[in-house]
């Protein structure tokens, strides 16, 4: 008695589709993991665990997705694993994020070098945000996810996600302004009384 051809074909198809998913979203999962945990070593572990979990549950996820993209599902797995990572090890994200990796490799233009301090400051402020706000910003800006995708990844409604993003940015603006300190009035060259 052999394994039915249909079963074998289904398994092959499933594996092929998982391979596609893996290749398409390795960078997304790694980016998310990196910005969540703040260092490359743990980001690699988190990415690996995410795909192992995803492989185990891929068939069901695909069945229940009704054809919708699976990226939010993958990120949700990473999100849950990251939460366990902090809970189990009683630690918070490292601050600042490995600046050698985050700020040098993806940004190489002169303009970005000039903005390096600004970028470093904003990353530090992102780390000060509450978890849900920080995650929403990572999903939006690092992964380019839209509101609907973020909502699925976080298990929220689209409306609640829109509000979350808005508040995250407002709070970040306040944190950045506070970090910059009070702005000095512009110097008035030669404007003084003679």
């Amino acid at each position: 008695m052999a394994v039915p051809d249909q079963t074998r074909d289904d398994k092959r198809r499933l594996d092929d589709e998982f391979s596609d998913l893996y290749r398409a979203h390795l960078r997304d999962v790694y980016s998310y993991s990196y910005y969540r945990v703040g260092n490359h070593h743990d980001a690699e572990d988190l990415t690996e665990q995410t795909f192992l979990q995803a492989y185990r549950h891929f068939e069901r996820a695909q069945r229940e997705s009704n054809g919708r993209p699976l990226r939010p599902w993958l990120i949700r797995i990473a999100h849950n694993l990251a939460a366990n990572y902090y809970r189990d090890r009683s630690r918070k994200p490292q601050t600042p994020i490995d600046d050698a990796g985050a700020l040098s490799s993806p940004h190489s233009t002169e303009t970005l070098v000039e903005d390096r301090e600004d970028l470093k400051r904003i990353l530090e402020c992102v780390q000060e945000l509450p978890d849900d706000r920080r995650e929403a910003l990572i999903m939006r800006f690092a992964l380019g996810m839209d509101n609907r995708e973020i909502a699925r990844a976080l298990g929220r409604t689209d409306g609640a996600t829109k509000v979350l993003l808005h508040r995250s940015i407002r709070q970040l603006e306040q944190l950045v302004a506070k970090a910059e300190g009070p702005t000095e009035p512009p110097a008035l060259d030669g404007a003084g009384p003679s």
């Binding site: 008695m1 052999a2 394994v3 039915p4 079963t7 074998r8 289904d10 398994k11 092959r12 499933l14 594996d15 092929d16 998982f18 391979s19 893996y22 390795l26 960078r27 997304d28 790694y30 980016s31 990196y34 910005y35 490359h40 980001a43 690699e44 990415t47 690996e48 795909f51 192992l52 492989y55 185990r56 549950h57 891929f58 068939e59 990796g101 985050a102 700020l103 490799s105 993806p106 940004h107 970005l112 903005d115 600004d118 970028l119 904003i122 990353l123 992102v126 910003l137 990572i138 800006f141 690092a142 992964l143 940015i169 970040l172 603006e173 950045v176 302004a177 910059e180």
Partner: protein, 120 residues
């Protein structure tokens, strides 16, 4: 700067390319899991097969798991498959194909056990 926060966020939170070795590492981990499952279940087979009364029931369990086709079944299934692993590796183009071949071999062997137990 507040007005530029969104633009700065796009720059600061740029996507990070994973290390080149990460992809190979994940694939290796998946491969190792498949092999580990084979070894664990070989041990399971030896203990389960000692008692003939368990043969039909024990042999049906992995067979059913293969029919389901779930990747989670990797953790439950492997009977008499270890001896074929070099051949599987040689024939497989990647980890997922290797996992598929392993499950296929396991299913075949499990069904052989079912048939053997029925004949007794």
């Amino acid at each position: 700067m507040a007005a530029d926060v969104e633009s700065l966020l796009r720059l600061a939170l740029a996507p990070i390319d994973p290390p080149a070795e990460l992809e190979a590492r994940v694939e290796l981990t998946l491969t190792s899991l498949v092999e580990l499952a084979a070894e664990e279940l070989e041990a399971w087979e030896l203990s389960a097969m000692k008692d003939p009364r368990n043969w039909p029931r024990q042999a049906l369990r992995p067979a059913a798991a293969v029919v389901v086709g779930s990747a989670a079944a990797v953790g439950l299934v492997a009977v008499r498959t270890r001896g074929k692993r070099h051949r599987r590796r040689a024939l497989s183009g990647g980890v997922f194909e290797l996992a598929g071949r392993t499950l296929h071999d396991v299913g075949t062997e499990a069904r052989k056990l079912v048939e053997e137990s029925r004949r007794r």
